[in-house]
Structure formats: structure tokens, C-alpha cells
């Protein structure tokens, strides 16, 4: 139960990073933190009390398996998070070259 509360707390720290920080890289780190917290939440959904890893080996005991479907979902979500972060960073360094600053208060060419 406390793990769920900690996952939501991590999500809120990510939201603080996106909303309140002025540096572009800190916004990217905020988004990455939010992604990790959602992945953690998804794995926690699949936990069964007293379960073992869901792999068929020889000499298994009669313990129940942990749910493997959220683990497959989280693998895919990690890959998607990687692609998102890589694209954000590539655009951020090009913005630095064009505008000369990382501060979002200076990057305001499009208005209205």
C-alpha cells in the first residue's frame, strides 16, 4: 500500500519539475521522472502476495506466479520512454544553438 503512495509521490515530483522549472533540461528530467513513476505503478498492479518470478524452470515449488502481463507492458513503455526522451533532448540542444539560452522565458518567438 505504501508503495503505491510513493509511486504517486514520484509522479507529483515530476509534475513539479515540468510546471515550475525554467530550464529546458529540467523540464525533460521532469517528464522522465513521470514516466518512471507510471512504469512503477504498472508493475505494482501485477503483484501477487508471496509470488515468484513467472518463469518455467525445473524444480519449481507450488508458489503462485506474479502477473507477467504488466511486465510486458512496462517493457514496451520503457522503450517508448527512451524514444521520447531522445527526441526531446535532440530538439533541446538544437534550440540551444539557435536561441543561445536554455531559459524558457527567452524562447518566445511564437505568440498570439
Amino acid at each position: 500500500m505504501i508503495l503505491f503512495i510513493l509511486a504517486v509521490f514520484l509522479f507529483l515530483i515530476g509534475v513539479y519539475g515540468v510546471v515550475a522549472k525554467r530550464n529546458l533540461i529540467k523540464i525533460v528530467i521532469g517528464i522522465a521522472l513521470m514516466e518512471y513513476s507510471v512504469n512503477l505503478f504498472l508493475i505494482l498492479v501485477g503483484y501477487v502476495k508471496g509470488g515468484t518470478a513467472p518463469i518455467l524452470t525445473e524444480g519449481m515449488t507450488k508458489d503462485p506466479f506474479v502477473d507477467p502481463l504488466p511486465q510486458a507492458m512496462v517493457l514496451t513503455a520503457i522503450v517508448i520512454g527512451l524514444a521520447t526522451t531522445a527526441l526531446l533532448l535532440a530538439i533541446a540542444i538544437r534550440i540551444y544553438k539557435k536561441y543561445g539560452t536554455f531559459d524558457i522565458r527567452e524562447i518566445k518567438n511564437l505568440k498570439g
Binding site: A53, L56, L75, I78, V79, A90, I93
Partner: protein, 146 residues
Amino acid sequence: MKGMTIIVKKVTQMICGVIFLYGIYIIVHGHLTPGGGFAGGAIVSGSFILLILAFGSEFLALKKEETGSSILESSAILIFLIIAALGMVIGGVGVFFVNFLPKGTIGQLISAGVIPLFNIAVGMEVAAALLTIFLALLIYRDEVLK
């Protein structure tokens, strides 16, 4: 970009081959142990990136390397799609993505049909993709510093 000190260079020389082999072990045993294509591919690309970071990028023709790894990534995905589409021709009544190779006994290395082939294709693709991203950012950094 310049390389690092001589201690880092020596340790990297000794260890990057071991990291590469460990990554290949995780890819190939994807149907028996945790890991599989993505995790193993990330480790394999880690070994290449470690080499470039430790020795510096002045020895490489960066544009040719990046073209090469980009072509490797696209061909890995095409191999994946061809194996998936082969299911329509060989196994079943024309169903996509079906498992058409014989599934052996549980726990052996060569078993579970097409899954090890998919793991190898995905591992190649992820390693090449991460290396392409790293090389593209490196090329842009050299351009900016000029």
C-alpha cells in the same frame, strides 16, 4: 572529442569484450531467463559507446559510422517483419505472426519456435538504434564546437 586518461583506456580494453558477450548471452537466452531483446540490445550498445567515450572520437569517420548503423537498424526491422510475414506463408492458414518452427522441450536453448529469432532481431535493432542516437548527437556536437 578527446579520450580519457590511461587507466580508463586500459580497463576499457580489458572489459568491453566481456560486456559485449554478456549482452549477447542475455539476448539469446531471452526465452529462458529474464531479459530478452531490449535489455540485451541496450547492453550491447553500451559496450560500443564505452569504447567511443574512453578512446575519443578522432579515430572514427563519424558520418560513415552513423550511416552504417542506421542501415543496420532498418534492415533488422525488415528482418523482423519478414519473419512475422513468413507465418502467413508457411504455418497455419495465412495468419500473421504465427509460431511456425517446432517447439522443443521446455528449458532447452533451441526451443520455443520463432521466439529466439525475434529476440535476436530486436536486440540488433535496439543496439543499432542507441548507437545511431549517440553518434548523431556526437556529430552535432562537433559541428557546434567548430
